[in-house]
């Protein structure tokens, strides 16, 4: 029997409409937009000015702190302006606008298709290269990868876990990546193992991707230290903590503990591929696979997209936005962010563009909590969402903190099972933000 995590979880309809669709290149945009905060941490600082000419792969923004990342241009052309744009966060944020002229790449980038197998760089050089390529976690959280590859000194890392679970419904970007770039991914895993100085990696794949499991098993058969582990289908298995438990049986203690405290580092397959390209091909992170999908979309597809391409262009390539669209989502239906309009650009964390029909998207009227405990059963973190939701609604931050609100991973299991249709996660998210603020203020006082 396949492994899985122990607590909670739900089974949303998978709806993997694009699992069989090959990755196609997306058309170049006319103007590419690069928001300065595409990652967790401090926003990047622009290092180009209006009128500057850039090539594909040119650095256009530098990290604004330790927890930050470089941003590279994905197009060649001229910097039009540095202005604000409404991005996937739903806020107006500063961004660099580049008018596209031709498609000229930085000469240092190796554009050949040949898989570069050999890598004998020192660990610090690898991490430096990853940092310079602006690689961040591609699963959605956008955690700067070089930070993750430098775990605290007192933690002994023994296992690298590759997150190829893709438990979000609809999305197939990682699935296709494994099928089409398996060799590169294996090289990428070996590079990360080298950077971490360990020799065991586990690729966790859910059982609904048998073709990927088989292919990866075949490719890793000859490589020692890399194991493919099929996992039972269950959401949110792609959550870092859930995946570590499913693969190793270890539970990461409550915050502020990190996965490194139980000897694990988790990387998404998309990140692994980006690391391969950065280290072996000198190619910074400026392209990613995006699943453009939805039940009524006429031509759902997996696209290889340059960052900064407006979402509207991807939608056009997928056959236009269907008439019945009620919600436009960047990411999957469980954790994705709602887009306010189609002008938002693709950023490093955009794993999919989902057009939900109005009948699926509209929330039903909220009712009294009937204390059915379905949210408690569904919570993968062992929390009591009904209690946390009510506490946040009543601004009772002490109760929320006592009941571990900061452990919430915002997976949405509670809200998606609630028969009373209560907006549990809306409240819990608010409470988590407030309580985190209170804790920070308290620590600052000490």
């Amino acid at each position: 029997m396949a492994n899985t995590f122990r607590m909670g979880g739900v089974h949303p309809e998978p709806n993997k409409l694009t699992a069989g669709m090959k990755i196609e290149p997306a058309a170049l945009p006319k103007q590419a937009v690069f928001p300065l905060s595409q990652h967790i941490g401090a926003p990047a600082v622009p290092c180009v000015q209006k009128g500057d000419r850039v090539l594909v792969g040119t650095k256009i923004a530098e990290p604004g702190g330790f927890m930050s990342a470089f941003i590279h241009s994905s197009v060649s052309g001229k910097v039009a302006k540095i202005d604000t744009i409404v991005d996937a966060s739903g806020q107006r944020k500063p961004a660099i606008f580049i008018d596209v002229e031709g498609d000229e790449w930085e000469p240092s980038i190796d554009r050949s298709d040949k898989v570069a197998l050999q890598c004998d760089m020192a660990a610090s050089d690898i991490i430096d290269k990853i940092r310079n390529a602006g690689v961040v976690g591609m699963g959605g959280a956008c955690f700067p990868t070089h930070v993750k590859l430098c775990p605290p000194k007192d933690c002994k890392i023994d296992t690298l876990i590759i997150n190829a679970v893709e438990c979000e419904p609809y999305l197939t970007a990682d699935h296709r990546l494994m099928l089409e770039y398996s060799d590169q991914i294996i090289v990428g895993i070996r590079i990360i193992l080298r950077a971490l100085g360990i020799d065991r990696a586990v690729i966790g794949i859910e059982e609904n991707k048998p073709d990927a499991i088989e292919l990866m098993k075949m490719k890793t058969a000859m490589v020692s230290g890399i194991e493919v582990m099929p996992l039972k289908m269950r959401y949110p298995q792609g959550g870092e903590k859930q995946l570590i438990e499913a693969v190793t049986g270890r539970q990461v203690p409550p915050p502020p503990a990190l996965p490194a405290n139980v000897g694990c580092v988790v990387q998404n397959v998309g990140t692994v591929f980006a690391i391969y390209e950065a280290v072996q091909k000198n190619k910074p992170l400026f392209e990613r696979i995006v699943t453009v999908t939805g039940k009524s979309v006429s031509n759902p597809c997996n696209l290889k997209v340059r960052m900064g391409t407006p979402v509207s262009q991807l939608i056009e390539q997928a056959g236009g936005m269907p008439q019945d669209t009620g919600k436009l989502i960047s990411g999957g239906p469980m954790m994705g962010r709602p887009l306010l309009g189609t002008e938002a650009p693709v950023v490093k964390g955009t794993s999919g563009i989902l057009m939900l029909p109005e009948k699926d998207a509209v929330r039903r009227e909220e009712r009294n909590c009937i204390r059915c405990a379905k949210c408690v059963q569904a919570c993968p973190m062992g929390l009591e969402p009904y209690l946390l939701g009510t506490a946040s609604e009543n601004a009772d931050w002490e109760t929320a903190e006592e009941n571990w609100i900061t452990s919430c991973i915002e997976c949405g299991c509670c809200q998606s099972t609630c028969p009373s249709r209560r907006p549990l996660l809306d409240w819990v998210r608010l409470g988590k933000n407030k309580v985190n603020g209170i804790i920070r203020a308290r620590n600052a006082k000490k």
Binding site: P12, A361, V376, G382, S416
Partner: protein
């Protein structure tokens, strides 16, 4: 392109579950017991059930409309129907209509709406109604008609029920099979264990409830009465008879598992079940009432907030 987009945050999809779906499955699960009661008690059962359901619905509507001034009707969620059915199932089939109406009014008015409606009531409304009637009309509520008087209602002949015999001679207690199919006296819905178990199966199949509460209640009752029976088989009846008689099945499957008034965690539900089982046995064996299920559930209902405080779910990553 759609003109305006919805912009609420994740999760954007829902499993499709609603209060109505859950309640309708509970009603469906109660149907076998209702049919069985019609077969066993005939016309009386029908009149009591119909009166109870109708007056529950009416009182909920009136209270919503004229006391709480709410525009939206809550009849559609099905909880009033369930309260009506459960209340009827807990009454003898020859209870006069006026008493049934009073019980329904207390169940809905005091048991549920006084606290703000579905979701806020600390006690199971149907049991509040039943206990009110039990205290108000003790003799009427404890004299049950004997089965198979199809056309009788208020004129039905009453007789002893298995539970009231416990204190006396063992030989007058009906056999297991009669208890199982309901060929015995008692409240409307509680007599036919077979029908109730079918309902239990439906609830489990639709995942409306989990097995924890009913099974722990039954196990606790079986264990405690088993010990007493082993100690003194002359005074005390055997555990199987205890399980099959009285309101134990009805109470443990349908009343103790009421969402609103039962604990939130599995651990809490187990303790709640043990508590109900223990209290039931104590009242049955040592109390002055022949049946203790209603009181046991109500007492444990009162403790549920405490249980919820004590029995927190195990938090992810917490040291074991």
């Amino acid at each position: 392109m759609a003109e305006k987009l919805y912009i609420s945050t994740s999760p954007h999809v829902h499993c499709g579950d609603t209060i109505e779906k859950n309640m309708h499955w509970v009603i469906t699960a109660l149907m076998p017991a209702m049919v069985a009661s019609f077969i066993i008690f005939g016309l009386g059962a029908f009149i009591v059930t119909a009166t109870s359901v109708a007056s529950c619905l009416l009182s909920e509507w009136l209270i919503n409309r004229y006391l709480l001034h709410r525009d939206r009707s809550t009849l559609g969620d099905g909880s009033a129907v369930i309260t009506g059915l459960l209340l009827a199932f807990n009454l003898p089939s020859n209870l006069p209509v006026f008493a049934v109406v009073m019980g329904a009014l207390v169940a809905i008015g005091i048991g549920k709406m006084a606290f703000g409606g579905l979701g806020n009531n600390p006690f199971n409304p149907a049991l509040v109604g039943r206990v009110f009637l039990l205290i108000s009309f003790p003799s009427r509520m404890t004299s049950w008609p004997v089965p198979h008087q199809m056309t009788a209602y208020s004129d039905a002949v009453t007789g002893a029920t298995p539970l009231s015999q416990f204190g006396y001679a063992n030989d007058s207690i009906p056999g297991y099979w009669d208890l199982f199919i309901g060929n015995t006296g008692g409240s409307l819905g509680e007599v036919c264990a077979l029908a109730l178990l079918i309902g239990f199966a439906i609830l489990l199949w639709r995942k409306v409830i989990t097995w924890h509460i009913p099974v722990t209640i039954m196990l606790t009752v079986a264990a405690l009465t088993g010990i007493m029976w082993l100690v003194n088989p002359v005074t005390y009846v055997d555990p199987l008879t205890h399980l099959l008689s009285g309101g134990l099945m009805l109470g443990s499957i349908f009343m103790a598992t009421d969402y609103v008034t039962s604990p939130m965690t599995v651990k809490g539900q187990v303790w709640y079940g043990v508590g109900i089982g223990f209290l039931t046995v104590v009242i049955r064996l040592f109390g002055s009432y022949p049946e203790g299920m209603s009181f046991a559930i109500l007492i444990m209902n009162a403790i549920v907030p405490l249980i919820n405080n004590w029995c927190k779910p195990k938090h992810f990553g917490e040291a074991a």
